[in-house]
Structure formats: C-alpha cells, structure tokens
Subunit: 341 residues, 2 copies
C-alpha cells in the first residue's frame, strides 16, 4: 500500500519533521539519521504526496494550456514545446481544449484558476479577453498568450512575425512579376490581419492596387481536417479562380491551404504555370506534392518553449515578475521557396 511520511518516520525512528528535512535538504541532519531515513524511504518505496506538499506550499506545479483548437497541428506543436520546457522547470502541462467556443474557453480558465494551475498559457478563441479581469481579480496568477493578440487584457504575448513573413512571401510573388495575387485566410483574427497587412504592404510597394474581391476569409469554428478540404476556402478558391484573372495565390495558414490546394489539385490547375502558390505555415507534406509548395515556415514548437520560459519567469519570482512590464515576443518566420513559384 501507499505509505505516508508518518510510516517513514516511524520506521526510521525520527519525527516527520526530520523526514521532511532530509527529503528536501532544507536543514542539516546528522549523517546517521539521514541514512536511516533514506533506508526507510527505499524500504517502503515512499514518494512524497505532491498534493499535500503543494497545498502546504500554495502551488500546484501545474501550468494550464487553454487552447482554442487542439485539432490544428500548429497548436499541438505549441503544446509539445510547452511540455518540453515546463518539464525542465519542474512543472507539468495540463491541457484543456476550447474547441473554438468562447464559453468553453472561459469555463476552462475558471477551472484552472481555481487552484489547479499556478499559471496559464492561453491561445484564445477570440480576441476579447476582458473577462479575465474579473476572474484574475480574485485569483491572480500569471498568464501568457500565444499566437493571438488579446484585447482588453494585457500580458506577455508570443507571436510569429506575421506581417514580415507575409510581406516577404508576397514580395517574392510581385518580384516574379505577378500583379493579381489572391489572399485566402481561414478566419479573420488579429493574426490573420497581420498577415493581410504584410500582403498589402508588398502590393503597395510594388505599385499595385489592392482588390478586395481577391481577399477572402472563412469563418470556421472547429471542423475536421477532412471537411476543411472541401469547405469554405475551397469554395472561395473556386470563385476567385473562375471569376478573376489571378496568377498567384497567398494562403494565410495551414487550414486555408487544405481547401485552397484541394481545389487547385482537383481541377488540374497547373502550379506555377497557371497560378503560383505560397502558404503561411510549413508542413512536411508540402514537399510531397507536385510541384512542391513554398511556405512561410513558423516554428510553433519554439513558440511553445518561449511561452513556457516567460511563464516560468513569472511563477518563479512573483515579486520581480510583477514589476517587469509585459512584453510581446515575436518568433521569426522563414520563407522557403519551392517549386510552386
């Protein structure tokens, strides 16, 4: 059966205080006594009960990750980066999926704030995060945002260099002489708007006008990867390609690309002869297509690691952390040109 500190103390012939001191190294203990404790511990195969320790110390060593859409591989990679870094800091990751529903997100945050987590990483479903004020007012814990800029609440944020990445990709297209370039984004959130800005900037710089008809957004909630292939973006692509004379496409993220490229492929449109193509988000499958597809590669795993570092700083030293002002960290993207341009 599971043994407690009492049994160890009894077996070693010391007080539970001494057992605690030995196990935590918080006080000097006579070597012989120490040895007796160690012997008892290994004899009973004793492990401290983290619940009790944490209750006493007022912490849980758990960091919550409330993620808007765990079915998106991008966020799974962020989770992986978080796990890697938090483990190094002696913390663990507890994941809660909001499935693109704001109420679920709020419910998740409530659950974690109540005391299960020492801090929060949040990839919000929508920009409005003002609800956090009320919740954190009574239970103040550090919070770090990833991938999307929150509104109505200020804290550390980890983002990709969305505008720059998008700008470079679009510039690569204008440099090749393309003048009619379509933009597809799965959903118009802050991050997608930054990418749109980069796209516009490159067009303006090239002396081109911006045609609103060539800019399309979806509005999806949580849908399966499979249904994305023939969803809104598929329809938008069909519409743009049949009604407008475009020669290049910039796709705003991995989800949009599933729909956009599905249409291109199914209708045998030749890339890059008929239309050049670049997407935000790299995936290993982009080298498996014919031609291979160019991408603005993000590094979600690194975004996770960086977010974890930021949160660890704040939980480790609450006093200095409070003074430290909030920062927005941008993780750089990399343009990878392949056969599609």
């Amino acid at each position: 059966m599971k043994s407690s500190i009492k049994e160890v103390a009894y077996l070693a012939g010391v007080s539970i205080a001494t057992v605690s001191y030995v196990l935590n190294g918080t006080k000097k203990v006579r070597p012989e006594t120490e040895q007796r404790v160690f012997d008892a511990v290994s004899k009973l195969n004793y492990h401290v009960n983290p619940l009790a320790r944490n209750l006493r110390k007022g912490e849980s060593k758990l960091i919550g990750f409330v993620v808007n859409d765990l079915s998106n591989n991008f966020f799974q990679e962020i989770a992986r980066g978080l796990e890697t870094q938090l483990t190094k800091g002696g913390y663990h990751l507890i994941i809660m999926n909001s499935k693109e529903q704001k109420e679920t997100e709020i419910e998740n945050v409530k659950n974690l704030i109540a005391g299960a987590a020492d801090a929060l990483i949040l990839a919000p479903t929508t920009a409005d995060c003002s609800y956090l004020h009320f919740l954190l007012d009574t239970n103040p814990i550090p919070i770090v945002f990833v991938d999307r800029l929150p509104e109505g609440f200020e804290s550390d944020v980890v983002l990709a260099t969305n505008e720059q990445g998008s700008y470079e990709a679009t510039k690569a297209l204008t440099d090749k002489g393309h003048t009619n370039i379509a933009f597809f984004g799965s959903r118009q959130d802050s991050t997608m708007n930054e990418r749109l800005d980069g796209y516009k900037k490159a067009l303006v710089e090239a002396g081109l006008s911006i045609n609103a008809n060539l800019i399309r957004f979806g509005s999806h909630g949580s849908v399966s990867q499979r249904s994305l292939r023939h969803g809104e973006m598929y329809q938008h692509t069909m519409d743009v390609l049949t009604n407008y004379d475009i020669t290049a496409i910039f796709s705003g993220n991995n989800l949009a690309t599933l729909g956009v490229f599905s249409f291109i492929k199914e209708t045998n449109i030749q890339v890059p002869k008929d239309v050049a193509f670049i997407t935000f988000d790299d995936s290993s499958w982009l080298t498996m297509t014919t031609p291979t597809l160019s991408a603005v590669a993000q590094n979600p795993e690194k975004m996770g690691r960086v977010a974890a570092k930021l949160i660890l700083e704040r939980v480790a030293e609450p006093s200095t952390a409070e003074k430290k002002s909030f920062q927005i960290v941008r993780i750089s993207t990399q343009l990878i040109l392949r056969g599609s341009v």
Copy 2:
C-alpha cells in the same frame, strides 16, 4: 485576493461545514442559509481549492498520459481524444513526453504515480513494462495502454486492428496481380509486427513466397519530421527499388511513409505505373499528392476516447473494476483506395 472557505463562512454567518454542504449538495440545508452562502460565494468570487479538496478525498482528478513520442501526429490525436473524453468525466489530462527514451518514460511514470495522477494512460517506448510491477506495488492506480501491447505487465489495452488492416491493404495489391511487394516499417515493435503478419498472411493466401530482402525496418528514436524524409526508410527504399524488381510497396506507418514517398517522388518513379503504393495511417496530405495515396486509416482520436472511457470506468468504481478482467480493445481500420494502386 483569493478567498477560502473560512471567509465565505464568516460572510454568510455559518460554519465552514455548512458552506461545504451547500457547495457540494451533500446535505440538506435550509433555503435561507443556502442563499446566504451563495451570496457570499459570488460576492467573494470564491472557488473551492481543488488541491485541498483532492488531498482530503485522496484523488487528484488528473489522468496522466505518458507518451513515447509526442512529435508524432498520431499520438497528438490520441491526446486530443483523451482530453475530450476525460473532460466529460470531470477529469483532466496531464501530458508527459518520453521522447522515445525508456528512462524518461520510467521517470514520468514515477512522477505521476507519486500522487499527481489518479490513473495512467501509457504509450510505452518499448514493449517491456515489467518495471511497472514495482512502482504500482506501493501506489496501485489503474493503467491503460494505447497503441502498443506491453510485455511483463497486464492491463487494458487499446489497439488498432493492425493485422486485419495490413492484410486488407496487401490483399488489394495481390488482387491487382502484384507479386513482388515490399514492406517498410519505421521500427519493429509489437504493433509493426502485427502489421507485418497481415502482410505475410495476404502474400501466403495469394500463393506468394515471402522475401526477407523486401522487408525493411528502421530503428529511429525521436527525430524531427523533416529528418525522417531523408532518413533510414529513404535509404531502404532506394536500396529495394534499385536492387529488387518490385511493383508495389506497403508502408507500415506515417513515419515510414515520409521517407519512402520522399524517395519515390524525388526520383520521379511513377505511381502506380512503376510501383503501386499503400500506407498504414491516413493523413490529410495523402489527397494532395499526385497521384493521391491509398491508406489504411486509423482513428487515433477514437483510440484516445476509448482509452479514456476504460480508465474512467476503473477510477470511478475501483472495487468492481478490480474484479473486472483486463481487455484488449481493437479499433477498426478502414482501407481507403486512392490513385496510387
């Protein structure tokens, strides 16, 4: 600041016991008293401290997922299924990545068993799980295995119908008249062996002999998706295709396929004219290639949900659960024939 049950009790003018009764509905309380408690709770924005509650009740409401390789999308999908189902049961998922290292796996299990988790889901790095006997001896908690059959330890297991799926795929190839079919597996574990068995069974049934030279395994640990594309399986594919007269390939999983298909694509081998192709594991990108690739589709998200259900049964009713014998649940696969055959 964060308030405790004491403050609620004080504000409501009752004892902390009464507050607990009201909040948990564990005892009938006079409506007026109840109301006063609710008022105090909302006024203080009080939430019970799960750490304290769990310590008292001897549970954490946390289920640990110790996964051999979180960089594999397959396991990320299992994690998603677990999260979905556990949340419904009032539990939460805490993820620990073993990164294909047995020592890390054992360390992770130790951590969780100590009391952080009420139960464990384990996707082991290697088959040998006898070490669990010692650990669970002192801290007995339920455990469910996913994806791989453990050796030296008995418990519930959730697996795909590996042999059947592999058999159907290979049979589809022999039915088309293929007689020289290669088999590629990223790593020879119990699951891959089951798939190999299905492959062999189909060959034997078709009256074909089994050529060991056409059966190749890798030995990778945790490597990036990118490096997989030009790793061991890439080399094996090159070797088999140049030295043996094969007309069809069956790839044992998603990781192997990255290497196998990379070689096929880079060398412009025509599929299915030069060589037909089917892979275990479906991915959305398999419809993006030319031609589209056939697959034995697993349902990892469902595997996660089923594993979660099994574990919830055991944590919910420990007494009856102990009596219940262990079961192996097989989640069926589905052969999806596309352009590559």
